[in-house]
């Protein structure tokens, strides 16, 4: 089963060295070694069928309409020890609190700008900066209630933060469904491990949203706003709405009247207090932002400003996950909290800085270049795997608009054991835990482990041939 497994030079999740599994993987390793490949294949097929039959699919853009695919699921779980998780939890909590204080500050007094910690021109040139949010008081001062932060391991196995997703992070439904499927396919193995549960996520999310209700609304009505059936994450929207027992609404179901948001029901208009919106800032209110949007609610921003509705997340949070601002997050943490960051950043070159830019342009074949406002693995150059034409193209783009790009060293993402074509092979993985911030920060132990299923690939995004696996956080 493990005959074609190569440990390689990067950190291996399962093996400390050749033939020596890490202690937390020992039971899993022994179980896999004794299972016939055929049996494993059958379980993989059963798992795939579960996804397809339940319609757990995402839409691929740029293909024929209605191309629905399942997000490939890998049978073999990824294991995180209690000690590792404790560190991740502390680090993410610290980071989210600091980023939230940063958002509160830049949309009000702007102390961090006045103190010269972050250059004004860098902040105000963020694509996701929303002038309209200046001076708006948001419930509990919570801007980022739902966060997904991407972590990777460096060569020594230390977790570092690759990026924060502070706008409309997705994928949490896969974290939950992967666990359901896992418990069905490997019940005995699962029960031998003492794995911390994740299934209370829906309830935790609902509590978080409830905390954002306007005051004097003791029994708030909470809804999930989806762009509709054509959105790639529509399955997740229906899944979460059902988990929480709240209405799944579209923009056309809502209206604003006298700065209050209502939904149209067969029993008349019903007031809405909190909106978990899965619609981007640009589309959320045609009166305030893109006027051609039909996905949002005209007048939502004013209702929000008036304090009559809570939003998760707030508008304009994209400035804090801009990839150029990312380089400043360690400074943001020490500025607001007076602490050293627990989880380190990846070293980042700002292309607006002359020295950095010169270095980057000379080393394009070694670095990863990313567009600052993009996500989902789009707009990226991976130096070592690029062609000369691609590098020339990026050189041209960088020189034309240096503010729009950053560069990072090519990371040696850790590799985890995956079941591929009847064998166990190592593939690169990352980890996206989901952080909730309402009354306090809550992180459900686990996350989405994304896998670059193509041999040698470093891109884990579902839109680019990635898959996922269940992530086990162990109890002590």
């Amino acid at each position: 089963m493990f005959t074609s497994y190569e440990i390689g030079s990067v950190y291996d999740e399962m093996f400390a060295r050749e033939g020596r599994p890490r202690p937390q993987y020992l039971a899993l390793y022994e179980r896999l070694a004794e299972l016939p490949a055929e049996e494993l294949r059958q379980r993989q097929q059963a798992a795939d069928a579960t996804f397809l039959n339940q319609g757990i699919t995402f839409t691929v853009y740029g293909h024929d309409q209605g191309t629905e695919k399942i997000f490939p699921y890998d049978l073999i779980p990824r294991i995180i020890t209690a000690a590792e998780w404790a560190e991740i939890e502390r680090g993410l909590t610290q980071r989210i609190i600091a980023l939230n204080l940063f958002l509160r500050d830049v949309y009000h007094e702007g102390r961090i700008l006045a103190d010269g910690v972050i250059p004004r021109e860098l902040l105000y040139s963020c694509r996701h900066y929303r002038r309209e949010m200046r001076g708006i008081h948001v419930p509990r001062d919570v801007y980022i209630a739902v966060v997904g932060t991407d972590l990777v391991r460096d060569a020594d196995g230390r977790f570092v933060v690759l990026e924060d997703n502070l706008r409309v992070p997705s994928g949490v439904s896969y974290m939950l469904v992967n666990r359901q499927v896992m418990k069905r396919t490997f019940p005995t193995l699962f029960s031998r491990y003492n794995v911390r549960p994740t299934e209370h996520y829906g309830q935790a999310l609902l509590e978080t949203l409830r905390a954002l209700a306007p005051q004097h609304r003791p029994d708030p009505t909470i809804v999930l706003l989806t762009p509709g059936v054509y959105n790639s994450a529509y399955f997740e929207h229906t899944f979460l709405a059902r988990q929480m027992g709240i209405q799944l609404v579209e923009g056309r179901d809502l209206l604003a009247h006298d700065n209050i948001i209502y939904m149209r029901t067969t029993a008349g208009l019903r007031r809405v207090d909190v909106i978990y919106r899965r619609v981007d800032d640009d589309f959320v209110d045609p009166l305030a932002f893109r006027t051609d949007s039909t996905l949002g609610v005209a007048g939502l921003l004013n209702a929000y400003r008036a304090g009559n509705v809570g939003l998760a997340n707030a508008i304009g949070t994209g400035i804090a996950d801009d990839k150029a601002i990312y380089a400043y997050v360690p400074r943001i943490i020490s500025y607001y909290l007076g602490e050293e960051p627990i989880l380190p950043n990846v070293e980042t070159y700002l292309l607006t800085d002359e020295t950095d830019r010169r270095y980057v342009l000379e080393h394009l074949d070694e670095l990863v270049v990313k567009a600052v406002g993009e996500s989902g693995g789009y707009g990226m150059l991976i130096g070592p795997q690029s062609t000369r034409e691609q590098r020339d193209e990026f050189r041209r783009r960088i020189l034309a608009d240096p503010r729009n790009y950053i560069a990072q060293p090519t990371l040696s993402l850790s590799r985890a054991a995956c079941f591929i074509d009847g064998c166990v092979e190592a593939r690169h993985v990352d980890l996206r835990p989901y952080i909730l911030y309402g009354e306090r920060v809550v992180i459900v132990p686990g996350g989405l482990t994304r896998v670059a299923l193509r041999r040698g690939s470093l891109v884990v995004n579902s839109s680019q041939g990635g898959g996922s696996k269940d992530t086990w956080v162990l109890n002590d």
Partner: protein
Amino acid sequence: MTKTPMLSRVADSLYWMARYLERAEHTARLLDVNLHSGLDQTPSAAARRWERLLVTLHSVPPDCGATPYAITQALTFDTANNDSIVASIAAARENARQVREQISSEMWEQINRLYLQVRRTSMHEMWSGEPHVFFRAIKEGAHLFQGITDATLSYDEGWWFIQIGRYLERALATATLLDGHFGAFDTGADDLAAGFDYLEWVSLLKSCTAFEAYCKVYTASIRPEHVVEFLLLNADFPRSVRFAADMIQDAAQAIGRASATRGTARVERLAGRLRAALDYGQVDEIMADMHAYLMSVRRMCLQVHDAIYHTYISYSVDTMLG
């Protein structure tokens, strides 16, 4: 815990899902009967029947001529033609897709299967094979969906919106069918007897899958006034207009109870009036001016539709805030 009321958009989608599916089934039945009985008719009689078919489906002859092939093609597979079976099923599926989390998975899978089945078939394949088999599959697919709906969905507000959509469509379609049929023959009661064409009346009954049920009540002796009485006023036959009116009223009352909003009285009153018009209709009086009667039935159906929209779906915001 109070139950959250249904979103107007969801009610709208369920209503149209049911209407479009009923429409597809109706068109399939009419085409099937027409293709079949054309076999026993003279070419000129058959041509008149096809013309009438287009009228009863509110459709126009295809550009390439009113041949049976062209009409069948246009009403079955032409995606650009809103009246075609494929367009109706696609519209029903699209409405179902919009509320996929509100209906049962089994319902979604069945309507999706039906859609894929129609999309897979080509006109050539159907025409050179047995059209009857194809149309029967459409009808059965629609019946299966209704059965699955009744077996898997809670009988709450949403289920009643499905019912009211289905039966309003059925009442309208049957009234139009009767009107088209009588418009073609009715030049006074005497001519009716003179122009009596057994085949025409049988195929009218078959267009409503009513032939067997009719025979059980009136035996196989086919008389126009009995056919009218059966298709309009029979209380027990599920495709009669009266039966549909009964269901519409039941649904209107159930929806009114579920939503308890202002203005439900209007929907219920209009539905009650429609029902009364059929409950207390007299076939001899009706046949004195068949067209006027059928038009008034159609008008009352459309009033119920409008009232549902005004009350539950596209109500003006001011009335609800006021």
